[in-house]
Subunit: 621 residues, 2 copies
């Protein structure tokens, strides 16, 4: 940077400082001081030729990527893009309005936000996903930059991302750590001790560049330039900064976190900053043009299951990944060190370059998948259903990035047996059902598993597929179709007194119950609710009203699962719904013994349904 | 240890090796090889005078604590207690049976298990909670030992625990890292490179002792003895071990993780081990006797709220903590660096020794709280409701330890406004409802908040209280009682056509809707469902049947929340239930604007209820 260039950039910084204060003042809330600390760091990245980005085409495959992991510094994010000429000055004043795309913490509604952030400790994982995409999948030379706050370095997810970035030698990933010493409620653990961060990061295998004064544009430029020299490891720039920098009464002061200035404070601050030239703008360097070879989908092989044979649905998952990999050239799989259990190892063995071992670190795994999805991949993420709970915050946040991620949880329910409650996924349906726009699937056999894996790959939003550890018989023919939002009426007569709705392992219990009830001349309908969300309310309404009552059976806790989904869908109808589900702390034991103990076995269904049928006899039509 | 003692201990180890193989063989599943790698490490702890424990009184306040974070090594845990004479040899063969307390991964059903483990990367946090209890609350000299697997060191939660243990200078905490090189599906990231772990741990401020041969009892004893010399920091013993040690065809081999030996393999293994003396036993040293001064509860101050005044329920939470601290001498509070938002800082300022800053690391915070609860404390854990999702796995697991933990989530719902979706707790009710035996509370004013905080302190299991950011009017008198499992019928007439069920912020929307509907002569009942779980089904049944329909309104996603709880409770009744809830991705904006956009405002209730009332008119009684 020449002296002239630096002087001009300092002018741009002064203008951005004003915008940060003005936009948050107009909103009446926001985080101006957390924005001011990182201002020169990010200005140095954007406007000294380090960042390469085509603003006319945010999706361009070789744009560098910038993620604000400290998502509360959104006034800075918007000021940067205003300085780049991409946001009108007036629009900055709509910050945090309902109709504005400039949200309090940026989401994908703002076109230059790479991902929605704001729950701390997530941006680095997303960055790892993008850097891994660039380096190992697309093989394009862009860099991914992640702005990090010092407070969020206490999140374990950061250290998961840090270790995986080193493991995959992501020298196209640059972290920018804004050490401003102050968290929300007071000083951080390490204050301005940059060496505390340096030691930890170096021990984890990163290259570290220290910036003693994070407000000195020359120092920032020098540190950033190192990114081109570091090879085989990711780089972290650790910068000492001042929270509220540039406004004397805010600088390094407690009590200003997350607070907009009032009228008087704004006036004092603007007076101190003095006249600014509101016409100065920065310039972002263009990206190198690259061309990716088009990926040609190839046809998938046919299914070759025989009705009556037994296969675990988790095997169906592994088989589907391998079968679909040629059809879906963007398909990748990530697994949390249990690929031999989830069967993601079937893909790994067939297409090792499409598989990413994420070790036992589920939060980062979800974040990496999001980063990959945002770069156009179709990620499948697997571990035990129980351990996906670990990534609930990342899963929740991924919805606000609007990306499609496919989660697959194996070892669902008490039916895993002897390993005991710690390994049993019993709240996974509830967890994934909560998310707006999510899809929740629970197949009962290998054929439906294969078909649903294919369907979810094309579905937007967060998709979840629940698989079972033990084998279950194939009940569907290879050509059966399974639209998302559908269900299958498997047993049916004109005389049915009630309907049993089940999915996955309990569907087979329901079918066995049907046989016994049939012997007793208690005819029931049986529905395979393989699509728990969206749910085929129309069929449920019709079937419920054609019979006398509905019984749901699931290997999942009572609250939030299949039963409540059905009860909710039928809540405006007069047909009674009864839920059979796991309703106590389960324990170790043989799977069938546990289903019996939890009252979700065929015998339990027979007993319950016959009781209800008998008690309702007089009123039945 | 004399040579004789060592020889005797080696005999005990040989017997334990046999038990590990026999018990898992009898169960047909389990993790014998992961047990064998840590056998000498734990035998050295238990039977060389290092561990101090009164087995006749597992709850004794100065017993050392041993946590198996690698919970799958349960065959070793049970073998140790059998070697201590506390489990009969025959009972070992009931391992993993439904009726046995020796579960696949130990839970608190086994009396010598300090906590339920099995979801990896949780034991160290629990240990931090116990060590912090001992050092800073009870001031007793026991030590807490945590057995860790190398695979689980990739979990970010470990590094959260590691940083907090160093922060609180827990020199009464000893980690024992069993580096056996092999995870479930193959080699770990660092294999037998002990220095990789050492560098990281030292960078995080721990003292490290290396054991080059984790099967050498003398080396183990020497390393453990260091615990007495280390001051001001926690200590990690990093031991190089061999998975499957002691059985040649299992040693350091892939493919044996989580597998019991078959008949033939067992015979070969036992032949190789040779005759064992089944009468040898080890001896655990007794603990030092200490006496804790009895804690005398003092009476709580009265509530002094005025009906009609406005207070945020989060302020009610802070006030309750401070008011109840004298009454509940075991009450402690932990917060994730947002105590000025959750208002836990009110307790911190009044009783600093009862408050523990956990920084932004929610997983560890939940684990530490569990450790404290298991040592007799009554922990309150607070952060934004949204960020409790981060600790779902720890929260889920805490249920299997049977301890009472009180979680408090602030900033619930879209009603937080401008900060946007990343900060909005919209799935918290669903998350906590799933857990068996959980309690879920959602007060609408300061009085009910204060009363419910008191009630939950006495409630077993996982309790959750949801608070609101903005102010709401006090509607209850200071002496009103709020039993858990109850509700309040706030508006009532003989002519009511329907009932609106709400809680928290939407209760006030419902009351405003009532006023408007009253003007239009559409009388409705209004219920404050402050106890979302357990739920007052009896009152709901009665009220629903006395009126024509039920409408639920909540500032929470549609699935798994208050609405589905009510729909589920009324599913067997013919009264229709309609849910009003957040059903799309929310955005930033002014709170009232957002409630309007999500259709949970007073106006939305008025519109919906009047429509339903009109459409049902002919059928109403």
């Amino acid at each position: 940077m020449t002296q002239d260039e630096r002087q001009q950039l300092e002018e741009v910084c002064r203008l951005m400082r004003v915008w940060i204060l003005e936009s948050s003042h107009a909103a009446g809330s926001g985080h101006p001081t957390s924005s001011l600390s990182a201002l020169e760091l990010m200005a140095g990245l954007f406007f000294t030729g380090q960042l390469h980005y085509d603003a006319s085409d945010p999706g361009y495959v070789n744009n560098d990527r910038v993620i604000f992991s400290k998502g509360h510094a959104s006034p800075l994010l918007y000021a940067l893009w205003a300085a780049a000429g991409e946001i009108a000055e007036d629009d900055l004043l709509t910050y945090r309005d309902y109709d504005s795309s400039l949200e309090g913490h940026a989401t994908k509604r703002f076109e230059f936000a790479e991902a929605a952030t704001g729950s701390l400790g997530q941006g680095l994982s997303i960055g790892v996903g993008m850097a891994l995409s660039a380096k190992q999948i697309d093989r394009v030379p862009y860099r991914t930059y992640v702005l990090l706050g010092d407070s969020e370095m206490t999140e374990g997810s950061q250290w998961e991302a840090i270790q995986i970035a080193a493991h995959y030698e992501l020298d196209n990933l640059v972290g920018m750590l804004d050490v401003n010493r102050l968290g929300q409620r007071g000083p951080t653990q390490f204050g301005h001790d940059l060496s505390a961060y340096q030691q930890r990061l170096e021990a984890f295998g990163w290259h570290v560049e220290i910036v003693e004064d994070g407000h000195d544009l020359d120092q920032v430029e020098t540190a950033l330039a190192f990114a081109q020299k570091v090879s085989g490891k990711p780089m972290m720039i650790i910068a000492k900064t001042i929270k509220g920098h540039g406004v004397s009464f805010l600088e390094d002061e407690e009590g200003f976190h997350g607070k907009a200035l009032d009228d008087d404070q704004l006036k004092r601050a603007l007076d101190e900053i003095g006249e600014v030239d509101r016409s100065v703008r920065g310039r972002i360097a263009p990206p190198k043009r690259v061309e990716l070879p088009p990926l040609k989908p190839l046809p998938a092989g046919p299914l070759e299951y025989a009705v009556g044979d037994s296969h675990a649905t988790r095997d169906g998952y592994g088989s589907a990944l391998k079968r679909l990999a040629p059809v879906l050239p963007h398909l990748v799989a990530l697994d949390g060190e249990v690929s031999n259990s989830t069967r993601a190892d079937v893909l790994r063995d067939a297409y090792p370059e499409r598989f990413f071992e994420m070790f036992i670190a589920e939060q980062n795994m979800a974040g990496v998948a999001l980063g990959m999805a945002l770069r156009g991949k179709t990620p499948f993420v697997s571990t035990f259903a129980a351990f996906l709970t670990r990534a609930f915050d990342q899963i929740r946040m991924s919805v606000h990035s609007g990306a499609g991620i496919n989660f697959v949880g194996s070892h669902a329910g008490v039916s895993i047996g002897q390993d005991g409650p710690s390994q049993m996924g019993l709240e996974d349906l509830a967890m994934f059902r909560t998310l707006p726009g999510s899809t929740v699937l629970y197949p009962c056999d290998a054929v439906s598993t294969e078909r649903l894996v294919e369907a979810m790959a094309h579905e937007p939003g967060a998709c979840y597929l629940r698989t079972t550890r033990g084998k279950t018989p194939v009940i569907y023919g290879n050509d059966e179709e399974f639209p998302i939002g559908g269900c299958k009426v498997l047993r049916h007569s004109d005389r049915d007194v009630g309907v049993v709705v089940a999915a996955g392992v309990t569907l087979h219990e329901a079918l066995a119950a049907y046989d016994k009830l049939h012997e007793w001349d208690i005819p029931i309908r049986v529905i395979d609710l393989y699509s728990v969300k969206p749910l085929d309310a129309e069929t449920l309404h019709r079937v419920a009203e054609a019979t006398g009552f509905v019984v749901t059976v699931e290997d999942h806790y009572l609250a939030g699962g299949l039963g409540e989904a059905v009860a909710s869908a039928l809540a405006d109808r007069p047909v009674p719904v009864f839920q059979m589900a796991v309703d106590q702390r389960p324990r170790s034991g043989e799977p069938a013994r546990l289903r019996k103990a939890e009252g979700i076995s065929a015998d339990a269904i027979v007993g319950f349904v016959s009781n209800v049928a008998n008690s309702m006899q007089p009123t039945l039509h």
